[in-house]
Subunit: 153 residues, 2 copies
């Protein structure tokens, strides 16, 4: 179930943003990459690589490297994120507009909400400072129950 008003818009918006970013950067937003991004965005849950592979089906004579390479490209350009704790991928809901983002993963409906909050970045920096640690990359994934599911939907 999608909790957005009209999920087709989510997909369209994501593709449009990707198109724009790739153009700006002189990157090739090929048919395959576009298709994989669409598939990732089929819903607001996370997508497993091999499920994407299945969905690609006959097109693109897809084999594992096909989908992993597309995902790698999309990740490098901030268009999808990997959720390490699930070995799965989600579309980025606001590409380029953040650095440290985190994920709220609902165990009931499986939707994943991407969030960015300055407070997290600050807290992290504090943590790092207090340990004299120079942070470069953060993985923050919170599993629980989303507001809609708590309400019994």
């Amino acid at each position: 179930m999608h909790r957005c008003h009209e999920h087709a818009h989510c997909i369209e918006d994501a593709i449009a943003a990707a198109d724009r970013i790739c153009t700006e950067r002189g990157l090739r937003f090929t048919g395959l990459r576009r298709r994989v991004l669409e598939l990732v965005w089929e819903n607001h849950g996370s997508a497993k690589a091999y499920d994407l592979l299945d969905k690609l089906g006959g097109d693109y004579s897809a084999k594992p490297p096909t989908v992993y390479r597309a995902l790698e490209f999309l990740q490098e350009n901030g268009l999808v994120h990997k959720i390490s704790s699930l070995n799965a991928y989600v579309g980025c809901s606001h590409p380029l507009e953040h650095s440290n983002c985190y994920f709220l993963i609902c165990k009931k409906c499986n939707e994943v909400q991407e969030c960015c909050a300055g407070t997290v970045a600050e807290t992290l920096q504090d943590l790092a400072n207090s340990n004299n640690f120079k942070p470069e990359q953060m993985t923050l994934e919170i599993e629980g129950v989303c507001s809609a599911c708590q309400a019994g939907n």
Copy 2:
């Protein structure tokens, strides 16, 4: 390289703590489980399941389920943690004394430092509240360069 004074103590302490916890809980801290925990503690980096398997070697006629089951037991009882972003495992440095802990992973020396800070828990709760999300489990892994490696060790 270990940055502790005498690494044997780290292992001994971890085993002693595990022993105590298992006794308290009426759980069986079997030879296999003890051995796997020792191996996880061989250093302060993270251990991969199949490396543990190799190290078990002839003993215990080890096959994948052997080590995964031991790791599962150790995880359930808070004696080791899985580092999702590395698909690897680290010994818990203060079992039972925390709930929300996070990990500082040095990409140079590969050591993993486990931390618990009230501020993180609070920040998380704030995040969750602001999203009306009921958190149950957190994965927070920060990769970067530890203080010793920054100093050029």
